[in-house]
Subunit: 414 residues, 2 copies
C-alpha cells in the first residue's frame, strides 16, 4: 500500500515555515509497511485543497491531511475534503457539547466560530484530540472502486503525533496486510560517501530484496537497510546477514547500528569507562560543548570547557604559552596540542580536546586557508593531532570539526 | 502570477531528508511578486513526475522542478517532463563536449551514463551549472492556451541557488509584470505571541492592503508586513506607515526591522561601542557562545568564555566561591550573578554573562523544577539577574535561555 501526505496551511507556503509533520508520519507509515509516494503542501484555499484531495483519491491508498481543522475562517480542510469526496458535513452534538464544556472549564464562553470544529464528514469517525480542541477524522471506504483510507489530523505537531499514536496506528494495522519489515541504520563518521559506496555497493547489490539508501552530510554517512519478508524472523535474519557483511567490510568505521548520534555513542563509551571530558574550542566557538551537553545526563562525563576565542584566553584558561602562539600562530598543530593538554590538566579530565582553525568566510591566508582545522585529543597515553581541510561554509566547517573531535574520542575509546 | 515548486527525489520521501530548496525559491519568487501556491514532492518515478508536471501545467503559471538531473538511472526529471509537455529530448553536442572536457580536466574518462545530462527538451534553453555537472533547463511558452514558465534545476542546494541567481531571476523579471512590493520584518524577543498580537492587531487590521503574518518560536516573534502597490514609492510609504505605528506601540521591544538574528543585533551594538563580551554557561552548555560565534568576525567583540558544567569549574574558571554554591545551590540567583561577574573579571570583558538552570528532562526538583533558569548580565554599572521558568523540552529551554541572555545584552546597550 502507498500513502500521500498533504499539509494544509498558507504559512507552509512562505519562506519562513516548513512542514515537519510529514517526516514523523513517514517514519510511522514505513514501520507499518506503507510507502509514502507523494507529499503536497497547499494553502488555506478551498479550491486547492479539494483539487489536491481529488488527485490523491485517484492515486494513493492512504491519504493523510494535516492542518486546517481549527475554528478560524482560514480553516477549510473539513469542508474542502467533504466536497472532494461528494459527502456532506454534519454537526456532531456530542462533540459540540464537549467543546462547550472545554471552554466552560477554563471560564470562557465558547465563541460561535468554534462550533465548526464539531462538523464531521458523513461516514467519518471523529478522532478525539487529547491535546487541543479540533477533533480529527477517519474515513475508510470505496472511492471510484478503490479502497481508500483518509485521515484529517490537526496541524500542531504535538496534537498530530498524539492523535496518530492513539487513534490511527491500530486502525491502520487492522486494515493493512500484516507486514514483516526489518530495518538497520549504520552510521559512519568522517569518510567520503564515494569511498563508503565503493566498498559496500558490491556487497548490498547482491541483496536485491533489501532496499539500501546511502545519505551523507555533516561528516556523517548514513546507510539505511530495509527488508520485507513473509515473517519477521525471516526479515530480521536477512537484514542482519547484510548488516554483518557490511560491518565486516567497514569494521570499526561504523559507529552506530541503531541510528544514534555520534555524541550519544561517545556518551555511552565515557560512562561505561567512568571517564571524563573537557574541551577547549577556538574556531568551533562552543559547538562541541553544545553538542555534548545537548544530551540529558551529560554532566556525568562532561566537566566543561573553555571557548578561547582570544589568544589571551587560550593562555588564561588552557595554559597555552604565549610564546607558542607567537611562534606558530593560533591556528597550528602546536597550539591545538597545547589546548587539549592544557584543558585536560586544568579540568582534571580523562580526555582534553583542543580545536583551532579558520572557520571563515574571512580570515583565511595562503598558508592557512579557510577550512584548515587542527583537532587534538589529549589522554593518559599522550596527545594526537589531526590536520584537516574542511570544505563548505562556516557552519559546515565548524560542524565537521566537532564531528572530527567526537570521532577521535570514539576511536580512542574502542 | 503564481508558482508551484516540485522537488524530485525518493530520498525526500523518507523520514530522513527534507526539501529545503523550496524555502529559498519561495523567498526569491515572493520578491518578484510571485506567490507560491503549491509545493509537491515526488519520488524518482517517471509516472509520478509526469503526472505532477501535467497537473502543475494546468494550475500554475511558473513551475520549478528541483532534482533528478544527474547521470544515474534514478535521474528521470528531464524525460518525464518532456513526456508531460509532449516534447522531445535532443542531445546537445556543445554541452556533451563541455561535460567530457570537465571530466578530462580532472583526469577521468567520462562514463557513458553522464551523456544524458546533455539531453535538452526541444524549445528549452540549457542553463549552465557553474557548481556541478548537470545543466538546468528553461522553457517558456504556451501550454493549452496558457503562458507557462518551466524551470528544471539541480537538487544540490548550492548548485540550485547559484543557477537560480545567475540564470533565472533576470529571465523571470523580463516576463513578469513589474511588481512593486515592499516588505518589513519586525522581530521581538521574549514576549508572548498573544500579547504581541493583542497589541498590534488593532493597528494592522486597519491596513487591509498590507498582508500581515505573525510567527513565533524559540523566544522570538516575527511580524512580516507585505504590501503591493502601483509604484515602489507608494508600497514603501504604505508599509513604512504601518511599521512606524507598530513601532510606536511596541517601542524598543522590536530588535530588528530587517530580519536580522538577535545575535547579529548584539554584534552591531558591541562593535559600535567598542565593547567586549565573555560568557560562563552551565545549563546552556556552550549554546550561547556557539550562537555568538556563528557570525564571522565575532572575534572582534567576543573574547570567549567557559562552559562550567561541574561545580569545580564554576570556581576554577569563573571564580564562584565554593561556599556560595554550597549555600545556595548551583542553580540559584547568587551563582548566576557570581558567574557573570567572575567571567567578566577573568576575561577583562565589558560584559559578562552567567547562565545556570535546569534544562531537563531529568534533574528537576519541587523547589527547582525543569525549566528554571537564572540569567545574569554583569557590566560596568552592576549586575542584573533574571529568573525565568521556560516551557518545553531541553532544546527549547536552552534556546530560550540564550535568547534571554542576548536580549538582556541588547537592552543594556540601547
Amino acid at each position: 500500500m502507498n500513502a500521500e501526505i498533504i499539509a494544509v496551511g498558507s504559512e507552509l507556503l512562505t519562506p519562513h515555515r516548513q512542514d515537519t509533520n510529514s517526516l514523523y508520519l513517514t517514519e510511522k507509515l514505513n514501520d507499518l509497511g506503507v510507502e509514502v509516494r507523494f507529499k503536497c503542501i497547499v494553502g488555506d484555499d478551498a479550491e486547492g485543497i479539494t483539487a489536491a484531495a481529488k488527485l490523491a483519491m485517484r492515486r494513493s491508498d492512504i491519504i493523510i491531511f494535516s492542518g486546517g481543522l481549527g475554528p478560524t475562517e482560514d480553516d477549510l480542510t473539513r469542508e474542502s475534503i467533504a466536497e472532494a469526496l461528494g459527502l456532506k458535513l454534519q454537526r456532531d452534538s456530542a462533540i459540540l457539547a464537549r467543546l462547550e464544556e472545554r471552554f466552560a472549564k477554563r471560564g470562557y464562553k465558547m465563541t460561535p466560530n468554534n462550533a465548526k470544529q464539531a462538523d464531521v464528514i458523513s461516514s467519518a469517525t471523529a478522532l478525539p484530540n487529547s491535546q487541543g480542541t479540533a477533533p480529527g477524522q477517519w474515513i475508510a471506504g470505496k472511492y471510484d472502486g478503490h479502497e481508500r483510507i483518509v485521515m484529517l489530523l490537526p496541524g500542531p505537531p504535538y496534537e498530530l503525533k498524539t492523535m496518530f499514536e492513539n487513534e490511527c496506528i491500530e486502525r491502520l494495522r487492522a486494515r493493512i496486510p500484516a507486514q514483516h519489515i526489518a530495518v538497520r541504520t549504520l552510521k559512519m563518521a568522517m569518510m567520503p560517501e564515494s569511498q563508503v559506496d565503493a566498498r559496500v555497493a558490491p556487497i548490498y547489490k547482491k541483496y536485491a530484496d533489501i532496499e539500501t539508501t546511502i545519505l551523507a552530510g555533516g561528516g556523517e554517512i548514513q546507510l539505511y537497510l530495509r527488508c520485507r519478508k513473509d515473517s519477521q524472523a525471516e526479515a530480521e535474519a536477512r537484514v542482519e546477514d547484510l548488516a554483518e557483511k557490511i560491518e565486516d567490510e567497514l569494521g570499526d568505521a561504523i559507529f552506530s547500528r541503531k541510528g544514534e548520534a555520534l555524541e550519544q555513542i561517545v556518551s555511552y563509551q565515557l560512562q561505561m569507562r567512568g571517564m571524563t571530558l573537557a574541551t577547549a574550542e577556538s574556531c568551533t566557538g562552543g559547538l562541541l560543548a553544545e553538542r555534548i551537553t545537548s544530551l540529558s545526563g551529560s554532566s556525568r562525563y562532561f566537566l566543561g570547557g573553555a571557548v578561547v576565542y582570544s589568544n589571551a584566553l587560550k593562555t588564561q584558561f588552557a595554559n597555552v604559552p604565549k610564546a607558542l602562539i607567537d611562534q606558530h600562530g593560533a591556528v597550528s598543530r602546536e597550539v591545538a596540542k597545547a589546548l587539549a593538554e592544557g584543558i585536560r590538566k586544568r579540568c582534571l579530565a580523562s580526555f582534553g580536546v583542543g580545536i583551532t582553525g579558520v572557520a571563515g568566510p574571512t580570515g583565511g591566508t595562503e598558508q592557512k586557508p579557510v577550512g584548515l582545522v587542527y583537532v587534538a585529543l589529549a589522554g593518559e597515553e599522550g596527545t594526537q593531532v589531526v590536520e584537516r581541510n574542511f570544505p563548505g561554509d562556516r557552519r559546515n566547517i565548524r560542524l565537521f570539526a566537532t564531528q572530527q573531535a567526537l570521532e577521535m574520542i570514539r576511536r580512542a575509546l574502542l
